[in-house]
Protein backbone atom coordinates (compact mmCIF):
# COMPACT_ATOMS: atom_id res chain seq x y z
CA UNK A 1 0.00 0.00 0.00
CA UNK A 2 2.84 2.40 0.87
CA UNK A 3 4.70 1.34 -2.30
CA UNK A 4 1.54 1.97 -4.33
CA UNK A 5 1.22 5.43 -2.82
CA UNK A 6 4.86 6.23 -3.63
CA UNK A 7 4.49 5.02 -7.25
CA UNK A 8 1.30 7.05 -7.57
CA UNK A 9 3.01 10.16 -6.24
CA UNK A 10 6.03 9.73 -8.54
CA UNK A 11 3.72 9.17 -11.53
CA UNK A 12 1.76 12.32 -10.67
CA UNK A 13 4.92 14.41 -10.42
CA UNK A 14 6.29 12.93 -13.67
CA UNK A 15 3.03 13.61 -15.51
CA UNK A 16 3.01 17.23 -14.28
CA UNK A 17 6.62 17.68 -15.42
CA UNK A 18 5.76 16.20 -18.85
CA UNK A 19 2.72 18.48 -19.09
CA UNK A 20 4.87 21.55 -18.44
CA UNK A 21 7.54 20.32 -20.88
CA UNK A 22 4.90 19.64 -23.52
CA UNK A 23 3.39 23.11 -23.05
CA UNK A 24 6.87 24.64 -23.39
CA UNK A 25 7.40 22.68 -26.64
CA UNK A 26 4.07 23.91 -28.03
CA UNK A 27 5.05 27.49 -27.16
CA UNK A 28 8.45 26.89 -28.80
CA UNK A 29 6.79 25.66 -32.02
CA UNK A 30 4.47 28.68 -32.08
CA UNK A 31 7.42 31.01 -31.46
CA UNK A 32 9.39 29.30 -34.24
CA UNK A 33 6.56 29.89 -36.74
CA UNK A 34 6.25 33.56 -35.77
CA UNK A 35 10.02 34.13 -35.78
CA UNK A 36 10.37 32.39 -39.18
CA UNK A 37 8.03 35.07 -40.58
CA UNK A 38 9.72 38.05 -38.91
CA UNK A 39 13.26 36.85 -39.59
CA UNK A 40 12.59 35.21 -42.99
CA UNK A 41 15.40 37.17 -44.63
CA UNK A 42 18.04 36.13 -42.12
CA UNK A 43 16.80 32.53 -42.24
CA UNK A 44 17.00 32.44 -46.04
CA UNK A 45 20.55 33.86 -45.95
CA UNK A 46 21.56 31.23 -43.37
CA UNK A 47 20.07 28.40 -45.43
CA UNK A 48 21.80 29.59 -48.61
CA UNK A 49 25.09 29.91 -46.72
CA UNK A 50 24.77 26.34 -45.43
CA UNK A 51 23.31 24.49 -48.46
CA UNK A 52 24.34 26.72 -51.38
CA UNK A 53 22.32 28.93 -53.75
CA UNK A 54 20.56 25.98 -55.46
CA UNK A 55 18.40 25.31 -52.41
CA UNK A 56 14.67 26.00 -52.71
CA UNK A 57 14.45 28.29 -49.68
CA UNK A 58 10.73 29.00 -50.03
CA UNK A 59 9.91 25.26 -49.96
CA UNK A 60 12.22 24.63 -47.00
CA UNK A 61 10.59 27.46 -45.02
CA UNK A 62 7.12 26.21 -45.94
CA UNK A 63 8.03 22.67 -44.85
CA UNK A 64 9.52 23.93 -41.58
CA UNK A 65 6.45 26.06 -40.76
CA UNK A 66 4.11 23.18 -41.56
CA UNK A 67 6.22 20.91 -39.38
CA UNK A 68 6.05 23.36 -36.45
CA UNK A 69 2.29 23.74 -36.99
CA UNK A 70 1.86 19.97 -36.88
CA UNK A 71 4.07 19.96 -33.78
CA UNK A 72 1.53 22.21 -32.04
CA UNK A 73 -1.27 19.80 -33.01
CA UNK A 74 0.79 16.88 -31.67
CA UNK A 75 1.41 18.81 -28.44
CA UNK A 76 -2.36 19.27 -28.03
CA UNK A 77 -2.85 15.50 -28.50
CA UNK A 78 -0.07 14.74 -26.03
CA UNK A 79 -1.56 17.20 -23.55
CA UNK A 80 -4.83 15.28 -23.81
CA UNK A 81 -3.02 12.00 -23.07
CA UNK A 82 -1.07 13.36 -20.09
CA UNK A 83 -3.92 15.39 -18.55
CA UNK A 84 -6.34 12.45 -18.88
CA UNK A 85 -3.80 10.08 -17.32
CA UNK A 86 -3.50 12.52 -14.42
CA UNK A 87 -7.28 12.44 -13.90
CA UNK A 88 -7.30 8.61 -14.05
CA UNK A 89 -4.47 8.53 -11.53
CA UNK A 90 -6.58 10.74 -9.27
CA UNK A 91 -9.44 8.21 -9.37
CA UNK A 92 -6.98 5.42 -8.47
CA UNK A 93 -5.89 7.44 -5.44
CA UNK A 94 -9.49 7.95 -4.33
CA UNK A 95 -10.00 4.19 -4.70
CA UNK A 96 -12.61 4.06 -7.46
CA UNK A 97 -10.92 3.57 -10.85
CA UNK A 98 -13.31 1.03 -12.45
CA UNK A 99 -15.88 3.51 -13.70
CA UNK A 100 -17.52 4.21 -17.05
CA UNK A 101 -15.92 7.67 -16.90
CA UNK A 102 -12.43 6.12 -16.81
CA UNK A 103 -13.33 3.79 -19.67
CA UNK A 104 -14.27 6.88 -21.67
CA UNK A 105 -11.04 8.59 -20.61
CA UNK A 106 -8.97 5.62 -21.77
CA UNK A 107 -10.82 5.67 -25.09
CA UNK A 108 -9.99 9.39 -25.39
CA UNK A 109 -6.33 8.55 -24.69
CA UNK A 110 -6.53 5.91 -27.44
CA UNK A 111 -7.78 8.51 -29.95
CA UNK A 112 -5.09 11.00 -28.86
CA UNK A 113 -2.41 8.31 -29.23
CA UNK A 114 -3.78 7.52 -32.68
CA UNK A 115 -3.45 11.22 -33.57
CA UNK A 116 0.16 11.10 -32.35
CA UNK A 117 0.82 8.04 -34.51
CA UNK A 118 -0.60 9.86 -37.52
CA UNK A 119 1.71 12.76 -36.66
CA UNK A 120 4.57 10.27 -36.58
CA UNK A 121 3.61 9.08 -40.08
CA UNK A 122 3.50 12.72 -41.21
CA UNK A 123 6.98 13.11 -39.74
CA UNK A 124 8.06 10.32 -42.09
CA UNK A 125 6.62 12.35 -44.95
CA UNK A 126 8.54 15.41 -43.78
CA UNK A 127 11.74 13.35 -43.66
CA UNK A 128 11.22 12.41 -47.30
CA UNK A 129 10.33 16.02 -48.19
CA UNK A 130 13.44 17.47 -46.50
CA UNK A 131 15.49 14.71 -48.10
CA UNK A 132 14.19 15.72 -51.53
CA UNK A 133 15.10 19.33 -50.72
CA UNK A 134 18.61 18.13 -49.71
CA UNK A 135 18.22 19.52 -46.20
CA UNK A 136 19.50 17.70 -43.12
CA UNK A 137 16.72 16.21 -41.02
CA UNK A 138 16.27 13.57 -38.34
CA UNK A 139 16.25 9.89 -39.35
CA UNK A 140 12.80 8.38 -39.20
CA UNK A 141 11.45 4.86 -38.77
CA UNK A 142 7.89 3.66 -38.17
CA UNK A 143 7.02 3.33 -34.48
CA UNK A 144 5.61 -0.16 -33.88
CA UNK A 145 5.42 0.45 -30.13
CA UNK A 146 3.21 3.46 -30.68
CA UNK A 147 0.67 1.46 -32.69
CA UNK A 148 0.66 -1.22 -29.98
CA UNK A 149 0.04 1.54 -27.38
CA UNK A 150 -2.99 2.73 -29.41
CA UNK A 151 -4.39 -0.81 -29.45
CA UNK A 152 -3.66 -1.27 -25.75
CA UNK A 153 -5.50 1.94 -24.84
CA UNK A 154 -8.63 0.85 -26.72
CA UNK A 155 -8.47 -2.69 -25.30
CA UNK A 156 -8.00 -1.32 -21.76
CA UNK A 157 -10.92 1.07 -22.32
CA UNK A 158 -13.11 -1.94 -23.13
CA UNK A 159 -11.77 -3.84 -20.10
CA UNK A 160 -12.55 -0.85 -17.85
CA UNK A 161 -16.02 -0.51 -19.37
CA UNK A 162 -16.73 -4.20 -18.76
CA UNK A 163 -15.28 -3.95 -15.24
CA UNK A 164 -17.49 -0.95 -14.48
CA UNK A 165 -20.57 -2.80 -15.76
CA UNK A 166 -19.70 -5.87 -13.65
CA UNK A 167 -19.16 -3.69 -10.58
CA UNK A 168 -22.51 -2.00 -11.18
CA UNK A 169 -24.17 -5.42 -11.43
CA UNK A 170 -22.50 -6.50 -8.21
CA UNK A 171 -23.57 -3.31 -6.46
CA UNK A 172 -27.17 -4.03 -7.41
CA UNK A 173 -27.00 -7.68 -6.34
CA UNK A 174 -28.89 -8.33 -3.12
Amino acid sequence: MIAERIVSKIARIALRVFLIGNFACALGFAAAIILSVFFAGALEARLIAKYGPCIDVAQVLLAARLLFGLGIVAAVALHRVLATLLVILGTVTTGDPFTFANAGRLRAIGWALLALQLFDLALGGFTAWFGALHVEFVRWGPSLGGWIAVLMAFVLANVFGRGAAMRDDLAMTV
Binding site: D168, D169, M172, T173, V174
Partner: protein, 71 residues
Amino acid sequence: MPVQVRLDALLHDRRMTLTELAQAVDISVVNLSILKTGKARAIRFSTLEAICRVLDCQPGDLLVTTGEEDL
Protein backbone atom coordinates in the same frame (compact mmCIF):
# COMPACT_ATOMS: atom_id res chain seq x y z
CA MET B 1 -40.99 -11.12 -19.62
CA PRO B 2 -39.66 -9.11 -16.66
CA VAL B 3 -39.40 -10.60 -13.18
CA GLN B 4 -41.35 -8.75 -10.53
CA VAL B 5 -40.47 -8.87 -6.83
CA ARG B 6 -43.55 -9.26 -4.61
CA LEU B 7 -41.77 -8.50 -1.35
CA ASP B 8 -44.10 -5.62 -0.53
CA ALA B 9 -47.20 -7.84 -0.80
CA LEU B 10 -45.60 -10.67 1.20
CA LEU B 11 -44.57 -8.27 3.98
CA HIS B 12 -48.09 -6.84 4.05
CA ASP B 13 -49.61 -10.34 4.29
CA ARG B 14 -47.28 -11.22 7.19
CA ARG B 15 -47.82 -7.84 8.90
CA MET B 16 -44.08 -7.36 8.89
CA THR B 17 -41.95 -4.27 8.23
CA LEU B 18 -38.88 -4.11 6.03
CA THR B 19 -36.75 -3.29 9.07
CA GLU B 20 -37.96 -6.39 10.91
CA LEU B 21 -37.23 -8.55 7.84
CA ALA B 22 -33.80 -6.96 7.52
CA GLN B 23 -32.99 -7.86 11.12
CA ALA B 24 -34.32 -11.42 10.67
CA VAL B 25 -32.36 -12.18 7.48
CA ASP B 26 -29.28 -10.11 8.45
CA ILE B 27 -29.36 -7.99 5.29
CA SER B 28 -29.31 -4.20 5.34
CA VAL B 29 -32.56 -2.28 4.92
CA VAL B 30 -30.96 -0.44 2.00
CA ASN B 31 -30.35 -3.69 0.12
CA LEU B 32 -33.82 -5.03 0.87
CA SER B 33 -35.26 -1.73 -0.26
CA ILE B 34 -33.38 -2.11 -3.57
CA LEU B 35 -34.97 -5.55 -3.89
CA LYS B 36 -38.44 -4.32 -2.90
CA THR B 37 -38.47 -1.44 -5.36
CA GLY B 38 -37.39 -3.72 -8.21
CA LYS B 39 -34.06 -1.96 -8.73
CA ALA B 40 -31.97 -5.07 -7.98
CA ARG B 41 -30.22 -6.68 -10.97
CA ALA B 42 -29.65 -10.02 -9.23
CA ILE B 43 -30.48 -11.89 -6.04
CA ARG B 44 -28.18 -14.35 -4.30
CA PHE B 45 -29.50 -17.85 -3.50
CA SER B 46 -28.55 -17.23 0.13
CA THR B 47 -30.69 -14.05 0.24
CA LEU B 48 -33.60 -15.80 -1.45
CA GLU B 49 -33.36 -18.72 0.95
CA ALA B 50 -33.21 -16.44 4.00
CA ILE B 51 -36.19 -14.34 2.91
CA CYS B 52 -38.25 -17.45 2.06
CA ARG B 53 -37.37 -19.00 5.42
CA VAL B 54 -38.42 -15.92 7.40
CA LEU B 55 -41.54 -15.21 5.35
CA ASP B 56 -42.39 -18.93 5.14
CA CYS B 57 -42.88 -18.89 1.40
CA GLN B 58 -41.49 -20.35 -1.83
CA PRO B 59 -39.19 -18.46 -4.23
CA GLY B 60 -42.11 -18.46 -6.67
CA ASP B 61 -44.17 -16.48 -4.17
CA LEU B 62 -41.51 -13.80 -4.03
CA LEU B 63 -40.55 -13.65 -7.71
CA VAL B 64 -43.16 -13.69 -10.46
CA THR B 65 -42.94 -13.02 -14.14
CA THR B 66 -45.24 -10.44 -15.67
CA GLY B 67 -46.69 -10.56 -19.16
CA GLU B 68 -45.13 -7.30 -20.33
CA GLU B 69 -42.24 -7.59 -22.77
CA ASP B 70 -38.93 -6.26 -21.49
CA LEU B 71 -38.02 -3.43 -23.89
